[in-house]
Point group: none
Chain length 407, copies 2
């Protein structure tokens, strides 16, 4: 949306975007959703004088992962941007990716050898405990630090999962995304040889092959995790930054690596802080309030509760958030937006395609349409149902950061 | 949306799409629409716990014919797909078109000859009775069966209308759609010579010219229908099938040739059955329930009543449909969708551009927004107002047939 960029204007206004991860839900108890069940006097008060609506995270019927979900509310059309699997996994374990990096998802696996050829017998190495995984990654890290001109960076994930990053002394193109997974996707087959199209893809393939051989050699006496399967070769997408796209000096206040990673992809400054409660996040917000003009504050626990199907917990977290609202409003944001990146209905225990309530609080709203911040009350609101990537222009407008278009 | 295709996953769920043709309407009696006037206890009950909304068949202000109307709800953007007039007319009279066919609309017309040149004096041959038409088509069929390498297939329509198909021994390109109509669109002029661009178009033009001359010769003594004007030269559009696009094994239960034809264009299996009542269709649905995972059930009479401006009849048909709802629900469809292909308001006695109520019944809806399945109650629903071609992704999602997009 180049028109938007041509309309940007500076102002002192501050925008606060609070993302309650996976907030949208479906009725369970007494026909109510968690937002409807929660006692939220402060949100209720706010909803009555705010602009409400719902956003479609990606498109009708499409259930977003965290990547596309956040890209949408950050103002990037998630159907037009591909974040590779390796990159997302690397962000999830907290690796700060550079444009010189190739990020790859690794799985520890079990192979047996027939005539010297490895045959996959368990693609997940019996889901070894995370502590096992950490021991193995430490051991591998101390023995593999460089292959050709690539620095090798290893990081444990959960159970059998890890991330490997090849860091080169030069920028790497997305050509490496043509490299196939080495995971044969089925047992009783040998791992596949990595192969890609183009000079750098061939080089990365060769390095990946060497890496696999080194791992196999180093882990040959392990009972379960004696091999590494590689998937999702990818590079950091080349996104316009928040500053370039919206003229905003933006920061991210989040507790989970994945969301910090996504924010850093669009150039937000990641604020480091102690603790991981909502209170810790709000304290951090207060401390940084003078330093930025856009704040992305991410609350993870609503999503986790939804993923666990824990209706009561999700309701409780909403109530906890509600209690902090007066402190947040005391900062006097020019525009306060509360929404989610997607729905995580407790009855599905997973992300879903359902549209997500949005609340925009600013002096420049109609308001008076909705009694509460809930899925069904949001349907009555002035914003209607709109694509998530249209949210940012709305926030900029309400913050007085957009000029008139045309005369 | 190629992304959708990449997200398809198999599941045992079954989707039932019921199209009440032309269901949308405008208030007439007591300010109520037929849906609002009808007594529909079963639909009312369903509406309360379903997702409601309205679809825009093609685009704002655009009144669709049956072709675009159905393409939309079948998930194809009707603005991007052209179904030629000849093809639609052929589908309407029940000709099963192949990719080797050129389909053309014919009008019997009256000409008089001046210096041997035909001059059109009535473009519709006084709208001869359909029985007359059938007699003439039988006669022509017995005398014209082949021209060059094209088999000639003739089929009567109503009054002065008929369809002619040239069936070749090879696939015919859409190049033939450059051929002009021979109808001069006004009287006191000679018919136009058919001409098109490209080798096959020239050949088809030549065959069409020969056909016209043969018809003129064979009918020269007819008092009214002594000539044939040809319009809408077209070939079957090359559409992705429902199976390719959505991974669905789909069937069509309909009574009118046009709708069976449209369903066959997207590769649905057409179920043949005796009778033409709603009851006959429901019985067929029950019989076929185990054989498919998508069912398109088309009910025509709501549209016919609208076209006749018969408010009472339209209301009665809605009530008749309502009585079958318990039987339909007893099949336990994973997703039941009830909608129309367009509106046919009684006061217009014609199709219209108005958005059309949609109901999606599944365990994964918010529900509780609307009291009834009516135009105005649908406005309160969670689906909002959306383009018809977004309906299929929504149905797939509710049926658990779509994976998450991105991680």
């Amino acid at each position: 949306m180049d028109i938007l960029k041509s309309l940007l204007k500076k102002s002192d206004s501050k925008i606060l975007l609070i993302v309650l991860d996976g907030i949208g839900d479906l009725p369970l108890k007494n026909g109510k959703t968690p937002l409807e069940s929660a006692k939220t006097p402060n949100l209720d008060f706010l909803a009555k004088k705010s602009a409400l609506g719902l956003h479609i995270p990606v498109d009708y019927g499409i259930t977003p992962g965290s990547g596309p979900g956040h890209l949408g509310i950050f103002g990037y059309d998630p159907l037009k941007i591909n974040i590779g699997r390796g990159v997302l996994e690397a962000l999830g374990v907290g690796i700060e990716l550079k444009e010189t990096d190739v990020a790859i998802r690794g799985n520890f696996a079990t192979v047996k050898y027939e005539n010297g050829i490895p045959i996959v017998v368990d693609r997940r190495a019996g889901r070894i405990p995370t502590e096992e995984n950490k021991r193995l990654i430490n051991y591998l890290s101390s023995h593999i630090s460089k292959i050709e001109d690539a620095q090798v960076i290893l990081q444990s994930g959960r159970e059998h999962r890890f991330v490997v990053v090849f860091r080169f002394p030069y920028k790497v193109s997305s050509e490496v995304e043509t490299i196939n997974d080495t995971d044969p996707q089925t047992i009783w087959k040998p791992p596949l040889k990595p192969e890609g199209k183009g000079e750098i893809a061939e080089k990365v393939s060769r390095i990946a092959e060497t890496f696999s051989q080194k791992v196999a050699e180093l882990l040959k006496n392990e009972p379960k995790a004696n091999y590494a399967l590689l998937r999702g070769f990818s590079v950091r997408p080349d996104l316009e930054t928040f500053e370039e796209k919206f003229g905003l000096k933006a920061c991210c206040i989040a507790t989970y690596p994945m969301y910090k990673g996504l924010a850093s992809l669009v150039g937000m400054k990641i604020i480091n802080f102690e603790g991981e409660t909502i209170k810790d996040e709000i304290e951090t917000l207060k401390r940084e309030w003078q330093n930025f003009d856009f704040f992305f504050l991410h609350i993870k626990k609503t999503d986790s509760a939804g993923e666990d199907g824990n209706f009561e917990l999700k309701t409780k977290i909403i109530e906890e958030f509600d209690r902090f609202l007066p402190e947040i409003l005391a900062l006097n944001p020019s525009v306060l937006c509360i929404t989610g990146d997607h729905s995580t209905p407790c009855i599905l225990k997973a992300h879903s395609w359902h549209s997500v309530p949005v609340l925009i609080y600013s002096p420049y709203v109609l308001g008076g349409t909705s009694e509460r911040f809930t899925e069904r009350e949001a349907l009555k609101g002035e914003l209607g149902i709109f694509y998530a990537y249209k949210l940012m222009p709305l926030l900029l407008a309400h913050a007085g950061k957009l000029k008139k278009y045309g005369a």
